[in-house]
C-alpha cells in the first residue's frame, strides 16, 4: 500500500509532464483524485487496517495527495498561462492602423470669433440681442436718423427686397436695426451686443463682401458719457486682444451717433488697425425709440467680424469666408 502511495506522486509527475493541454491534465487529475481514482481506491482499503497502520498510512496518503495536488496545480498554471499567451498572441493588433471614423469637426471661423466676442462681452456684463436679416426701412434707416435723402439709402449700397413699396424692405445693411429693436422692446438700462449677418450691394473682391458680419455694442443708461464709450472700448480690446493693445478714437460721422468716432486699435508693434466706428447715440435715435434723450444717454460701437476671423489664421482674402471647400474648412 505504501508502494501504491509512493506511485501516486510518480504517476502525477509523469501524467502532468505528458499532458499537453488542460483537458489532458484534467484526465490525469480525475484518474488520481477523482471519485473513482487512485486516491479514493487507497482510501477504501484503509478501513481494513489496524488503527496504527491506518493513522500512519493515512498520513502518508494525505501528504501524497497534497503533493499530487500541487504538482497538478503547478502544471495547470503552466498550461493555462501558455494557453493565454497563445490566445493573446493570436489577438495581436497593429494599433498604428487605427484612424477615427471622423475628426473633431469644424466650426466656421466667423462662428468662432462671434462666440469668443460674445464670451468677452458677457464677461463684461452684456447680453446678446438678435434681429431679422430682412428689415423695414424704419428700423434700418429712418429710426437711425438717416435723412430721407441720405446717400446710404442709395441703390448702390442697399439690397431692396421685393416686398412692400419700392424701397420699403431691405436686406439690413448693418446690425444697427437690432439696436432699434432692443430700444423699442425694453426700457433702459440697456447693455447689449448685437452680432449678425449684414448685406451691402457691393461687388465682392478680396477686401469687400456683399454678405458679411458685424458686431455692435449698445449701452443706454443714465449718466453715460463719451468717456464711458472710450473706457468700455478700451476694456473690451484689452479683454479680447490683450493689455498690450491700445485704442484711439478720432472724429468721424455716422447718422445715428453724435459725437461720432472712428475706432483704431494700435498693435504692440505700433501699427494701426482701423477696427470700426462708434459714438454717442444720437438724441434723435433715442427719441425715435421712445426714450427721453434728456434723461438717458448712450453709446454704440460696431465693427466688422470677417476680417478679424480670417486674420487669426492669416487668411488675407475676405472671400474665403464664403468658402465651402472642405480642404479649407477642415483646417480650423
Amino acid at each position: 500500500m505504501i508502494d501504491e502511495i509512493a506511485r501516486l506522486t510518480e504517476d502525477a509527475e509523469r501524467g502532468a509532464a505528458a499532458a499537453s493541454g488542460l483537458d489532458d491534465l484534467q484526465a490525469v487529475e480525475t484518474s488520481l483524485l477523482g471519485k473513482k481514482g487512485a486516491v479514493s481506491g487507497i482510501k477504501r482499503q484503509l478501513g481494513g487496517l489496524d488503527e496504527d497502520d491506518r493513522k500512519r498510512i493515512g498520513r502518508a496518503l494525505h501528504e501524497a495527495q497534497q503533493q499530487v495536488q500541487s504538482i497538478l496545480t503547478a502544471r495547470r498554471d503552466e498550461l493555462s498561462s501558455a494557453a493565454r499567451r497563445e490566445s493573446l498572441a493570436s489577438e495581436r493588433m497593429d494599433l498604428t492602423e487605427v484612424r477615427p471614423g471622423h475628426d473633431a469637426g469644424h466650426l466656421h471661423l466667423v462662428t468662432q470669433v462671434i462666440e469668443e466676442l460674445e464670451d468677452v462681452f458677457v464677461g463684461l456684463g452684456f447680453t446678446v440681442a438678435e434681429g431679422p436679416e430682412v428689415e423695414d426701412d424704419w428700423h434700418n434707416f429712418t429710426a437711425l436718423n438717416f435723412g430721407e435723402h441720405h446717400p446710404a439709402r442709395d441703390m448702390q449700397d442697399t439690397f431692396f427686397v421685393a416686398l412692400g413699396g419700392p424701397r420699403e424692405v431691405v436686406m439690413r445693411t448693418h446690425t444697427s436695426p437690432v439696436q432699434i429693436r432692443v430700444m423699442t422692446d425694453q426700457p433702459p438700462p440697456i447693455y447689449s451686443i448685437m452680432p449678425g449677418r449684414v448685406f451691402r450691394n457691393e461687388a465682392t473682391d478680396s477686401t469687400h463682401l456683399a454678405v458679411f458680419h458685424q458686431l455692435e455694442c449698445l449701452v443706454v443708461d443714465e449718466g453715460i458719457t463719451f468717456g464711458h464709450l472710450a473706457g468700455t472700448i478700451e476694456a473690451f480690446i484689452h479683454a479680447f486682444m490683450g493689455e498690450e493693445y491700445s485704442i484711439r478714437l478720432r472724429p468721424s460721422y455716422f447718422p445715428f451717433t453724435e459725437p461720432s468716432a472712428e475706432l483704431d486699435v494700435q498693435r504692440p508693434d505700433g501699427s494701426w488697425l482701423e477696427l470700426g466706428g462708434c459714438g454717442m447715440v444720437h438724441p434723435n435715435v433715442l427719441s425715435n425709440c421712445g426714450i427721453d434723450p434728456e434723461r438717458w444717454s448712450g453709446f454704440a460701437f460696431g465693427f466688422g467680424l470677417d476680417r478679424l476671423a480670417l486674420a487669426r489664421y492669416g487668411v488675407a482674402d475676405l472671400r474665403e469666408v464664403m468658402s465651402t471647400d472642405i480642404r479649407f474648412l477642415s483646417q480650423f
Binding site: V134, D154, G164, D221, T225, G227, Y253, M322, D325, L329
Partner: protein
C-alpha cells in the same frame, strides 16, 4: 479732398512740419489717406552733360556714355542712342531710388562699369515715353538736382477723407481754418481787389429763380475783354496736385476758386447765352440737355435746371454745365454764376444721373451762401491778372429760400453730461470761436450762432460734437461702466451653441454659403419656387432669398465632389425667408439647422435628428414616413416633436443629385430651430433609479412594412408603468416572413421602484405588452 502745404500757408502761418499738420488733420476728423512729398521723388537724379559716346567693346545693343554730373566724367552703360555730345540728360546716381521703386547700383554690364542710369521720361514718371533718354531743354549746370532744373516746387500734398458733416473741409481755406484753430494760429481769408469798369452787369442780364425752394441764392457777374490762354504754371501745378486737369485760364480760375474757397461756380460764354439772362427752374419731364462731357441727359421734374432767358437749358444746377455755352478760345465776354442750391436736390439729381462732379460733391454737403461775394471777387481779380478781364460793376443776385439758422442754445451742463468732461462756458467758447461759431452768454449756457459754412450744424448735439472735436477726443478721460449688471446668453443662444458643438463633435464642418439663390435653384432642389426676390441684385445668380438651406449645402457638396473631396459632412445654422404672412410687411424669417452627409443613406439622417432631439430634450421626437418633395420618395420622413412637424429627414432625391452632378447618396436633415427650441421639451427633472433588480424581456413581432417601428415602440413604452425603457435592437426581412413584412425585435426592461418584480408580474406585463402591440398595430408576436 486734397490740399497743399504751400496753399494752406496762404491762410495761416503753418510751420513746415508735415507730420504735425497731417496729425492735426487726422485728429480733427479729416484723416490723412495719403501724404506725398512733391519733388522728393527725384532725389538723387541730377542733370548731366554728355561728354562722349563710345561703342561697348562686348555688346552692340548698348553703348558707353561719358557724362559730367558736376564732378568730372563718369562712365554709364546705356541702351539708348538718341542723345548727342553736349546734350543735358537726367542721371540717376548710384544709390537713387527711382519713382517706380527700383534702386540704382553700380554694376558691370558685359564687363563695363555703369555708374548710374540715364533716364527716359517713363522712368521719371513724366509720361509713357520710353523710346529714348529724356533730353532736357534746360540751361542748368551739370550736377543740378533735376527737380530744381525743371522748376519743381517742393511741397507737401495731403489726400484727406472728408465726412458728410464737414462741408467746410471741401476747400483749402476751410481746412486751413480748422487746422489753424487746432494749432492756435491766426487765420485770414484773401481780400481780392476788383476795380469794376464798363456798363453794369444788370444792363446785360437778368436772373430769375422760378423755384426758390431749390435755389437759395443765385449771383451773376459779367466779365469783359477776356483773353483765353493757358493759366500760369503755379496755378496749373496746384490744380494738377489737387487732381484737376488744366483746361484754359478761365476754366482753371473757376476750378481754382472752387478748390480754394469751396464755392462751385460756372463761367458761361455770355455771347452764347441767348436772351441775356438766366432762369433757374425745375425741369419738365423728359427735357434734355447735352452736358459738357458730351452726353445728352434726360430730366425729371425733380431736377433743377439753369436755362437761358428763352427757357433753353444751359446747365444742370449744381452738377454740370451744358455744352452750348462752353468757354472757348474765342470767348470774350463771360457770365459768371455762383449760387447756393438745395443740398438734397443736388444729391438726388446727381445720383439719379450717376453724374458726380466736384461741384455736386460740394453742393450736396451744403455750400456757404455767404462766401459767394468773396469767391466772385477772387475769380474776377484772378481773371483780371491772368486773362486781362474787366469786371462789370455790380452783380445780379437773386434770392431764393436759404435755410434759417437761428442760434443754438448750448447748455454747458449738457456738453459735460454727454462728454464726461468738466468744461466751463468759457472753455466751450474757446473751442468754438476759432472755427467761426460765435457765442453769446445765456446764464450758464450760451447761444451759439453757427457759421454759414457749417450747413451740417443745426442742433445742440452738433455743437457738442464740435466742442469735443476741438477739445480733443483723446483728452476726454476714459471711464469704466459702473452700473451693476449681469451678462449672460439667453437659453436660445446657449442651446444654439450646444447644437453647434454636438454637430461639430460628430465630425461635421460648419459652412456659411451665400444666402442668395439663382432663379431655378429651388426647383432644382425639388422645392417650391416661392423665394422672395431682390429688386436690385448684383447678378441674377444671387437674386432670390433662400427658403431652405438645401440649395446652398447641395452646391457645397457638389463643389467638393468635383474637387475630389467625396463624403463631406456639413452643417449650417442660418436664416431662411418664407413669404410674408398676410398683413405683414416682412418675410416669415426663420432660423434653420441643416445637416448634409454625402455618401450616407437616410438612416444616418434619422440618427442625426434623433441625437439632436435628445440633446434638446424635445418631447417625443419621432419621424413620420412620408414622400417629401426633393427627397427620395421611399426614404424621407417628417421630423416631429409631440406630433408637430419641425423639419424633414431622409435622403436627397436621386434626380436632384443628378441635377447637381452629385454621384454619391446624400443624407439630409433640415429643421426649424425656432420650432425645436420653442416646442414642448422634456421637463428638466430626474426620475429616481430603482435599487431593485430589473427584468428584461425580448419581444419580436412580425410587422408589415407600412407599420412604423416607432409607433410599436411607443405603444410598448406607454402601456405599462413598469416599462423603464424600450429599445429596437433588431430588424430583418426574409423569405420566411414574406414580401412586405419584417421582424421588429425589442428589448423591454421592466422595473419597479419599490420591489423586485416577481415572475408572475413579469409574465403579466409581457402579456399586456404583446396584446397592446398586436391590437393597436396589427402585428403578431413571433414564436
Amino acid at each position: 479732398m486734397k490740399t497743399l502745404l504751400s496753399w494752406l500757408q496762404e491762410f495761416a502761418p503753418f510751420p513746415d512740419d508735415p507730420d504735425l499738420i497731417g496729425d492735426t488733420f487726422t485728429r480733427l476728423g479729416t484723416p490723412v489717406e495719403e501724404v506725398t512729398h512733391l519733388g522728393d521723388e527725384w532725389d538723387g537724379i541730377v542733370v548731366a552733360r554728355v561728354e562722349g559716346l563710345r561703342e561697348h567693346p562686348n555688346a552692340d545693343k548698348v553703348q558707353l556714355v561719358d557724362v559730367d554730373a558736376g564732378d568730372g566724367p563718369i562712365q554709364i552703360v546705356c541702351g539708348a542712342f538718341n542723345m548727342a555730345v553736349g546734350d543735358l540728360v537726367p542721371l540717376a546716381t548710384v544709390g537713387t531710388t527711382m519713382p517706380g521703386g527700383m534702386e540704382i547700383g553700380r554694376r558691370k554690364l558685359r564687363g563695363e562699369l555703369s555708374n548710374g542710369m540715364l533716364c527716359s521720361s517713363r522712368e521719371l514718371g513724366l509720361s509713357d515715353e520710353h523710346s529714348g533718354i529724356r533730353v532736357l531743354d534746360v540751361s542748368s549746370a551739370p550736377g543740378t538736382p533735376l527737380a530744381d532744373a525743371l522748376g519743381v516746387v517742393r511741397d507737401v500734398l495731403w489726400d484727406l477723407e472728408v465726412n458728410p458733416n464737414r462741408p467746410d473741409a471741401m476747400c483749402v481755406a476751410g481746412l486751413a481754418r480748422d487746422a489753424a484753430a487746432a494749432l492756435d494760429l491766426p487765420f485770414t481769408l484773401p481780400d481780392p481787389k476788383v476795380t469794376p469798369t464798363g456798363s453794369a452787369a444788370a444792363d446785360a442780364l437778368t436772373i430769375d429763380i422760378a423755384d426758390p425752394d431749390l435755389c437759395g441764392r443765385f449771383g451773376a457777374w459779367v466779365l469783359r475783354n477776356v483773353s483765353i490762354g493757358a493759366s500760369p504754371g503755379w496755378m496749373q501745378r496746384r490744380l494738377l496736385a489737387l487732381g484737376m486737369r488744366p483746361i484754359n485760364a478761365l476754366v482753371d480760375i473757376s476750378n481754382y476758386v472752387m478748390l480754394e474757397l469751396g464755392q462751385p461756380n460756372h463761367p458761361y460764354d455770355l455771347g452764347l447765352v441767348p436772351g441775356g439772362g438766366l432762369v433757374v427752374r425745375r425741369a419738365r419731364a423728359g427735357e434734355q440737355l447735352e452736358t459738357l462731357d458730351g452726353v445728352v441727359r434726360t430730366f425729371t421734374t425733380e431736377d433743377l435746371l439753369i436755362c437761358d432767358a428763352e427757357q433753353h437749358p444751359v446747365g444742370i444746377a449744381g452738377v454740370m454745365g451744358g455744352a452750348s455755352c462752353e468757354i472757348s478760345a474765342t470767348t470774350t465776354d463771360v457770365l459768371l454764376e455762383m449760387a447756393w442750391f438745395q443740398p438734397w436736390a443736388v444729391s438726388r439729381t446727381s445720383r439719379r444721373l450717376g453724374l458726380r462732379t466736384e461741384a455736386s460733391a460740394r453742393f450736396e454737403k451744403g455750400c456757404d451762401p455767404q462766401v459767394i461775394p468773396l469767391a466772385a471777387a477772387r475769380f474776377c481779380a484772378l481773371a483780371a491778372d491772368i486773362c486781362g478781364a474787366t469786371t462789370a460793376p455790380g452783380a445780379v443776385i437773386a434770392e431764393g429760400e436759404l435755410p434759417a439758422r437761428p442760434p443754438v442754445r448750448t447748455r454747458t451742463a449738457r456738453v459735460n453730461a454727454l462728454l464726461g468732461t468738466d468744461l466751463s462756458a468759457d472753455q466751450i467758447r474757446a473751442e468754438l470761436e476759432p472755427i467761426g461759431f460765435s457765442c453769446a452768454a445765456a446764464g450758464d449756457d450760451q447761444d451759439v450762432t453757427v457759421p454759414s459754412w457749417r450747413y451740417d450744424c443745426e442742433v445742440e448735439i452738433d455743437i457738442v460734437e464740435e466742442v469735443a472735436r476741438h477739445w480733443g477726443y483723446d483728452r476726454i478721460e476714459r471711464r469704466a461702466l459702473t452700473k451693476e449688471r449681469t451678462g449672460r446668453l439667453t437659453p436660445t443662444q446657449k442651446t444654439r451653441r450646444e447644437v453647434r458643438r454636438l454637430l461639430k463633435s460628430q465630425g461635421l464642418a460648419e459652412v456659411m454659403p451665400l444666402p442668395f439663390l439663382a432663379p431655378g435653384d429651388l426647383e432644382r432642389c425639388g422645392l417650391e419656387p416661392v423665394g422672395i426676390e431682390l429688386r436690385n441684385p448684383m447678378v441674377a445668380e444671387e437674386s432670390i432669398l433662400r427658403t431652405s438651406l438645401r440649395p446652398g449645402l447641395l452646391a457645397a457638396a457638389a463643389l467638393n465632389e468635383s474637387r475630389r473631396s467625396a463624403g463631406v459632412a456639413f452643417f449650417e445654422i442660418g436664416h431662411v425667408f418664407l413669404p410674408a404672412p398676410d398683413g405683414q410687411l416682412l418675410p416669415d424669417e426663420r432660423e434653420h439647422v441643416a445637416v448634409l452627409l454625402a455618401g450616407r443613406e437616410a438612416p444616418a439622417a434619422v440618427e442625426a435628428w434623433l441625437v439632436l432631439a435628445d440633446l434638446l430634450r424635445v418631447e417625443a421626437p419621432a419621424v413620420t414616413n412620408e414622400s417629401l418633395p426633393g427627397l427620395h420618395p421611399g426614404r424621407s420622413a417628417t421630423a416631429t416633436v409631440a406630433g408637430s412637424a419641425v423639419g424633414v429627414v431622409g435622403e436627397i432625391d436621386p434626380g436632384v443629385l443628378e441635377a447637381y452632378g452629385i454621384g454619391e447618396r446624400v443624407a439630409w436633415v433640415e429643421l426649424d430651430l425656432g420650432a425645436l427650441l420653442h416646442g414642448p421639451r422634456r421637463p428638466e427633472s430626474a426620475r429616481p433609479v430603482s435599487r431593485y433588480p430589473s427584468s428584461d424581456i425580448d419581444l419580436a413581432f412580425d410587422a408589415p412594412d407600412v407599420i412604423s417601428a416607432i409607433d410599436v415602440e411607443r405603444t410598448l413604452a406607454g402601456t405599462d408603468p413598469l416599462v423603464w425603457s424600450v429599445e429596437l435592437f433588431d430588424t430583418f426581412r426574409g423569405e420566411q416572413l414574406g414580401e412586405g413584412r419584417r421582424s421588429l425585435a425589442y428589448h423591454v426592461r421592466l422595473q419597479a421602484d419599490d420591489r423586485t418584480l416577481t415572475d408572475e408580474e413579469v409574465a403579466a406585463a409581457r402579456t399586456a405588452l404583446v396584446a397592446a402591440a398586436e391590437s393597436e398595430h396589427g402585428v403578431t408576436l413571433r414564436g
